[in-house]
Amino acid sequence: MSTEKILSSDGIPLEISLKKAERKNKLKALMLVGPLFLFLIITYIFPIGDMLFRSVDDRMITQKLPNTFAALEKWDGKELPDEATYEAFYKDFYPLAINKEAGKLYQRLNYEKSGFSSGLKKTNRTIKKFEKANYKEQFMATHKIWKDVDYWIALKNTAPNWSYAKYLKGLDLKFDQDRNIIQQDEDRRIHKILWLRTIKVAFWVTVFCFLLAYPISHLLATLPMKYSNLLMICVLLPFWTSLLVRTSSWMVLLQQQGPINDLIVWLGWAADDNRPELMYNVVGTFVAMTQILLPFMVLPLYSVMKTISPSLMRAGKSLGGTPFTAFRQIYFPLTIPGIGAGCLLVFILAIGYYITPALVGGASGSLISNTIAYHMKSSLDWSFAAALGSMLLVGVLTIYWIYNKLVGIDNIKLG
């Protein structure tokens, strides 16, 4: 081998100019992806990060009561704090009361310990008349929370800037006074049920979709083109139709005076005055979601089954296998990639479903997304909504990661 380097026509070693060209091409590709990438980073990835941040952000209260927290730092939490701490609280709270800025404080502290809201509201009204001495006495005379060590402990517990209390709440856990993690009171444990229900609904919808999609995908893949194209429309038309239209058709079908109930009554399965509730419960959620997500199972299954040569089954049968054995040992294993892709896709979509459960699910059929929406739009506990959203996001991204490992993101096909 000669040590002399091969030169390109302009005298630069070939290796270097090749690398240069490679780099140029790489840069070109990156520049094409760049605009969308930057757009998504700014308008999507950054906001999701911001949402995660919001779920642990607890700085508001620290900023509103700086003197109090400074005074409480040395307090041991055994007896009521000293006069200086009460004075510090007066210094913080007085301007808030005058400027009517204490509203958020009531809400935040009441999450920590109920009773705070009424106590602070009372204090808010009387603090303007306080004399400039003996703060402890005056506070204690205003409301009973100021005589209770537990409220001071609760207040001190809100001092850190960051808190994962909202995540605990999402799992029906909470901090007790000594910052130990304990179970939420029995009657307030609602979130664990919701998570379990969400997973259960997503799981069963996936199973139903699989059971219904497998035979029809097989039929679509084995029929001659001219018939299968026609039947494919049955799959694609719902796929292209507005989600709300499909949900409203289920509302028509499942309502008490609807066709399905008419049929049940006509068949004599139920009395006319005792029609079963098919909607506004978990049944409605199951049925409607299965039908709506079915195309997402059929399409990946179909695209895998299309590639399986029919001669394989014939070979299996000619070697003495019954049709069932041939199916079980040859056909089914070959369709597993499609099953994986379809099931993961349907599960991911089902676990975050919002519209359909909200319309046909009622209270017993609502899922975690509905709770997130409730906290966003009604209770306005945005940091809790953000925490629930982040927990859901972690679950979905895990499945997405598995999907990417197993199926490969670039293998997603549409239509």
Binding site: E22, N25, A29, L30, V33, P35, L36, F37, F39, T43, Y44, F46, I48, D50, R54, I216, L223, M225, I233, C234, V235, L236, L237, W240, T241, S242, L244, V245, R246, T247, S248, S249, M251, V252, L253, Q257, P259, Q291, L294, I348, I351, G352, I355, L359, I372, K377, W382, A385, A386, G389, L392, V396, Y400, N404, G408, I409, D410, I412, L414, G415
Partner: protein, 284 residues
């Protein structure tokens, strides 16, 4: 599918059971959509099949709900349709341009970290809408775009691009890159090559991606629910509001129009797919 004469009875029975099951599943998929059509022509105010409708009495049918949809008092559908079309139009253009350009980069064999970029660019399609909605709402509120058309259009561009990226990269997988090299060697600049050679070849993929983006924007409820003010109401929002209050025949009329629209979109998407396969020389 005719069975050969030698098939056993067992297998015959199984075969027809299988066909019946398939028939039922297809029925389950498609029938709910067709329930809406006759109900939208109902002359009565209630959403159920009246005796007259079942007897096919012409008096039981009317167009009054379509009239109500178009001319009704305090009609929300006119504004909603206008908003939906404006938003979907700009969102489609935005997603299609950004998505197509990105897909060109992603399909280049020089693209580094292809899988990671792809996973990130597709993520708006995977992340549950309620999470995207929450995050986008916080962001738009911060930059002052909540309750504006611009904010909604931007968020629909986010949600629409994954579909464009997927369809266009799929079209580009069978793309013969030697034609672009031939163009460059004949002295064409990259922009000219793209416009004259690449784009016409991938156009079916681009258009079907655009259709996806359009439908995504046109159907989208969750994000708009967070972002929209009274001025930005869209068709899905109006339907959502209506469905939560009461199932009215007017909604059935709107739904029928939407079904007709999606049928048209389906037909064009299907024709485009076939054309694209023919252009790329894929025979099935």
């Amino acid at each position: 599918m005719a069975l050969p004469t030698y098939t056993s009875w067992n297998y015959r029975i199984w075969h027809y059971t299988y066909l019946t099951i398939c028939g039922l599943v297809f029925f389950f998929l498609i029938a709910p959509l067709f329930v809406i059509l006759p109900l939208s022509f109902n002359a009565e105010q209630y959403i159920h099949f009246s005796k007259g409708m079942i007897a096919l009495d012409p008096d039981a049918f009317s167009l009054r709900w379509y009239e109500d949809m178009i001319y009704g008092t305090k009609n929300p559908w006119g504004l909603a349709t206008k908003n939906s079309l404006i938003i979907a139009f700009f969102a489609t253009i935005g997603s299609t341009v950004l998505g197509t350009v990105a897909a060109l980069g992603l399909s280049s064999r020089h693209m580094p970290y292809k899988a990671a970029f792809m996973a990130l660019l597709i993520s708006p399609m995977i992340v549950p809408l309620i999470i995207s909605g929450t995050a986008i709402f916080f962001f738009m509120a911060k930059v002052g775009l909540a309750a504006t058309h611009t904010g909604i259009i931007l968020s629909h561009i986010i949600l629409g691009t994954p579909f464009v990226v997927i369809t266009v990269t799929a079209t580009l997988t069978g793309f013969d890159h030697s034609v672009t090299r031939a163009a460059s060697s004949l002295g064409s600049n990259p922009v000219n090559t793209f416009m004259k050679i690449t784009l016409p070849l991938i156009l079916p993929g681009v258009i079907s991606g655009a259709l996806f983006a359009f439908v995504t924007s046109f159907d989208e409820v969750v994000v708009v629910l967070f972002l929209a003010g009274l001025e930005n109401t869209t068709i899905p929002i109006q339907m959502w509001v209506g469905l939560r209050e009461q199932l009215s025949p007017t909604i059935m009329a709107v739904a029928t129009c939407l079904i007709i629209m999606s049928t048209l979109i389906l037909v064009s998407a299907e024709l485009l797919r076939r054309r694209s396969e023919r252009l790329r020389g894929i025979n099935r």
